[in-house]
Amino acid sequence: MPDRVSIRIDGELLHARLGQTILEAATAQGRFIPSLCHLKGLTPVGACRLCLVEVAGIGRLLPACTTPVQDGMAVTTRSDRLDRYRRMILELLFAERNHVCAVCVSNNHCELQALARRLGVTHVRFPYSFPKAGTDLSHRQFVLDQNRCILCTRCVRVCAEVEGAHVWDVAGRGIGSRLVCELNRAWADSRSCTGCGKCVQSCPTGALAMKGFAAEEMVKRTETITRLVEAKGVRA
């Protein structure tokens, strides 16, 4: 079968479909590779770098979410180096904005928090930036809390690719990058937002949330996004 390839993941021989990414092939077999920017159904962007894996014969680390499988590929998803790098990346995210988990709407339902626990991050060695990040409370139903945003761009993609509205994008660059509504407008003033809430459901942290929820109450339904895409065939 030409569309089936054999790959090794952490030594185990697996079959995958040609055209699948390493992440897809691994997840299909129930294997875990950490990631934050990836959400099944949206175009992968390779931005969070948590899913980096080692591929035999290739000197650099490759993002599992965008690298297609190739026949005979030998992938290592866990190593001392990968563990260290992943922890460091999570620590950098915690240090970048103000993630006060205790009072966050997404406490206990947050992908960042869960990954930190899973990967054994017990503290952040880097000095916290404590930036003045701001919130957008203008929308009737939703809130944007920049303090919790990790710039994964899931909201940007879900809005552009699935809803077709492209309300969100990232302005600025480097450490000054920030999520903006349209061309930096209050959410309530958006002319393209349909109020569908897909951005909120796809957000891995408490950055986008429904109004009226207190700490720990906001539970995201990211799988609905995936299901929607698969059902509607919006994206392959």
């Binding site: 988990c101 009072v103 990967l119």
Partner: protein
């Protein structure tokens, strides 16, 4: 066998971590003969003593007094544990970090009240510019995050330390 000299310190925090420690309930009775509690809100000592084996620090470092006490703790303790999110991440106390202390105090004590428009000065330690996690001001040997850390995690840490082992908290604790 001599008992381990344990201290607890309460910096800028809500005392919830101490409450969680007390939540060890009957396990405390088992611990009692093995440890000597030499300092903390639960005992009478006024001065942080010399020669402490393990000190658990709750709370962020927010004031000059916190900073001095943290430094004393480090100088006099063999092993320092940052207990709970405030000590580990600065947590809720850090939510004022974007505001200069003077502005903050005026907002609360002058603009925010109807009577007695005055920032308290006497007997109140001066605030640091920002609240910091403990490890940004002193070396910390172990971090136990959580708001508060579950009693079980605290119990595990104490029993491991008493057994002379370094507790491995990976996967056992979380922020928040």
């Amino acid at each position: 066998m001599s008992r381990a000299r344990i201290a607890t310190v309460w910096l800028d925090g809500c005392s919830g971590c101490h409450m969680s420690l007390l939540d060890l309930d009957e396990a405390l009775i088992g611990l009692a003969p093995k440890i000597e509690l030499v300092f903390g809100p639960l005992v009478d000592a006024q001065e942080f003593p010399e020669g402490v084996d393990v000190t658990f620090v709750e709370g962020a470092v927010s004031s000059h007094d916190d900073l001095r006490l943290a430094q004393t703790v480090r100088a006099r303790s063999r092993f320092v544990v940052a207990l709970g999110d405030c000590a580990v991440t600065a947590n809720v106390p850090s939510m004022r970090n974007q505001i200069p202390p003077k502005k903050l105090l005026e907002r609360i004590y002058v603009d925010g009240v109807n009577v007695n428009h005055r920032v308290p000065a006497d007997g109140v330690p001066a605030l640091l510019k920002q609240a910091s996690p403990l490890h940004e001001v002193i070396r910390v040997d172990l971090h136990v995050p959580g708001c508060p850390p579950p009693a079980a995690a605290i119990g595990y840490v104490i029993s491991e330390l008493l057994a002379g082992r370094r507790p491995d908290l990976a996967g056992k604790v979380k922020f928040g």
